[in-house]
């Protein structure tokens, strides 16, 4: 049976070149970078090199990169760690309604438990956030704005550079004037973006994005799982979420995941080096899949903007059927995808991303994400296109639901 993995937005396999870079640090170079001897120093040097390399690619200073355990921790530090450290300057934050859970749940926690106010920006029907919308939500007491670079479910790419630029201008023109604050403070709001899904496809030059905080992780770009980074612009204060040693300036204590960090640095180098060519290749396959499904399967809807989306993301709602059942049918045919259906989530709530587009529950339940990657070929797409129609027909025959045509016509 074919083996077509189309869930690269969930995670990617390790690139062999990344594995090769990591291996010495899992074997002979096992030292603790904090140790005061040669073995430790070797590890420390390698860690410093990895930090330098990543900093160069992101166009930041090495001391502005914080290594973490992954995207979730980086997002949590950016939201919880930043807001807690800066709450004397205001207790309002702006996030989009379709952020990753690692941002949105952290924001909701601040709202529920720590007296913050949160504005949730709704994307438009195509899954886009506008510059005007963001700027209109900023208040004098807003300390943080968080907008994801590319959405993990529907792949839409937000105008981060434009928003970042406008926020920087706003800061210059509107010194933070909260009564409790030091006068003439130009630092707020700070702008965070979660770029986890963007690493393989988009430009990560922080100087062009005008962000102050940026989350990336290893496991979406053919690097290892369990490792991530947070870019923190110099001068931006973050309160730690865990306590211990002085690693990562005490903001993220704990012995560094040396091999993981080296793997992430290598993965970032490869991903950014190959992103233009790989994106061109994937866009063709992506559009072939979208057009093919629309041609062969009636009553479907493409979720997310048709062109302002990641080159590897296809998200389609198949009306009248339930995603989990469909995923299991696909799985039995050797196709591995994911769904926004409630049934596959631990909370049994359907995708907040699809709901944020203004679509009803049954459309969210029927949404399926195919995320392409290095291994994806035109033959894979052809196989998927041949496999899907009879499976959809079979599940629709079992279904009593008929979704309102206004959602797919």
């Amino acid at each position: 049976m074919p083996n077509v993995y189309l869930d690269h937005a969930a995670t990617t396999p390790l690139d062999p070149r990344v594995l090769e870079a990591m291996l010495p640090y899992l074997k002979e170079n096992f030292g603790n970078p904090s140790s005061f001897h040669s073995v430790g120093k070797d590890a420390k040097d390698a860690l410093d090199d990895a930090r330098e390399e990543m900093a160069k690619i992101l166009h930041v200073r090495a001391d502005e990169l914080l290594f973490t355990s992954g995207g979730t921790e980086s997002d949590n530090l950016a939201v919880l760690g930043f807001c807690r450290a800066n709450q004397s300057h205001g207790k309002h934050l702006v996030v989009t309604a379709f952020e990753h859970h690692a941002v949105i749940e952290a924001a909701m926690h601040l709202e529920k438990k720590e007296g913050f106010e949160v504005t949730y920006l709704s994307p438009d029907h195509d899954g886009m956030i506008s510059l005007e919308q963001v700027m209109a939500a900023i208040r004098p007491d807003t300390i943080l704005v968080s907008v994801m670079y590319a959405n993990n479910e529907i792949g839409t790419i937000q105008p981060i550079g434009e928003i970042g630029n406008a926020i920087q201008k706003h800061r210059k023109q509107n010194p933070n004037t909260m009564p409790c604050l030091q006068p003439g403070n130009f630092q707020f709001p700070v702008f965070h973006t979660d770029a986890c899904q963007a690493t393989g496809a988009l430009d990560l030059d922080v100087e062009k994005l005008h962000v102050d905080l940026m989350t990336i992780n290893g496991s979406k770009m053919y690097g290892p799982k369990g490792v991530g980074a947070l870019y923190v612009r110099r001068g931006v204060k973050i309160q730690p979420l865990q306590f211990g040693g002085s690693q990562e300036k005490g903001i993220r204590p704990g012995t560094e995941n040396v091999a993981g960090i080296i793997g992430m640095a290598k993965a970032l180098e490869i991903a950014q080096g190959e992103r233009v060519a790989e994106s061109q290749r994937l866009v063709v396959l992506r559009d072939m899949l979208i057009a093919g499904i629309r041609e062969r399967v009636p009553k479907v809807r493409l979720n997310g903007h048709p062109t302002k989306r990641l080159p590897n993301n296809v998200n389609i709602s198949f009306m009248d059927l339930e995603g989990e059942a469909f995923i299991l049918y696909l799985d039995a045919s050797g196709i591995y995808a994911s769904t926004g259906s409630a049934c596959t989530s631990t909370t049994l709530d359907p995708s907040h991303v699809i709901l944020a587009l203004g679509l009803p529950y049954e459309v969210a339940h029927g949404s399926v994400r195919f995320s392409l990657g290095h291994s994806t070929t035109a033959d894979d797409i052809q196989y998927v296109l041949e496999t899907i129609p009879p499976l959809v027909a079979k599940l629709r025959a079992l279904s009593p639901v008929r979704v309102d045509p206004k959602y797919y016509v």
């Binding site: 083996n3 993995y5 989990e324 909370t347 339940h365 079992l398």
Partner: protein, 225 residues
Amino acid sequence: MSDYNQPPVIGKAGDVTTKDGGKSWFYTDVVKDHFFNPRNFMHEDANPDDYNAIGKVGSPACGDELRVWMKVDPATEKILDFRWKTFGCGSAIASTSMASLMVTENGGMTLSEARTIKPQHIMDRLGGLPARKFHCSVLCDKALRDAINDFYRRTDQVDKMVVEASRIIDPVSKVTDHDIEEAVLDGATTIEAVQAKTKVGIGNPSVLPAVEELIRFYREKYFGA
């Protein structure tokens, strides 16, 4: 084709029942058989008038909708045919398919026998379901009882209809014990999660101890913990 020299993520032949307390999403071979080859579903070209009772439960907004059609012999009250359609996940399809088999095998159950079917009976025949998917099999016994009532309604035997009474727990939010049961089955096993789903006790905290007791009761009933 993908060639990561790794076993597929899911769906390897033979992945079996959840003996791990429901942490896994994998299904038993019986569940898979019913899921991939559903029995007795209502065909597109079937005539609903051939059936003398219908039942319905859930709504697509909740993620599950189940409709059933029954043909009951008025003389013996035996279920001669049982058909269904569901907007539901793998478990919903499999458990409904299994239920349709159970009520029609060996010449068909009588309505009073069918009324005693509990989710546990369906689960047993399926060899178990992941704990979180339990609510799917609760839907089909409810739809069955709804159809039984419908048969008695249509045949003017209103006295034989059984109303599933529910008790109001919170007079402010009008939340019933049944609502709490549903919330627990939907995975809300803490007071906070149940409140998020039902709003119970939000304007009336005095009812919370009773709510907690019910949550514990339903948790034990359905998840054994």
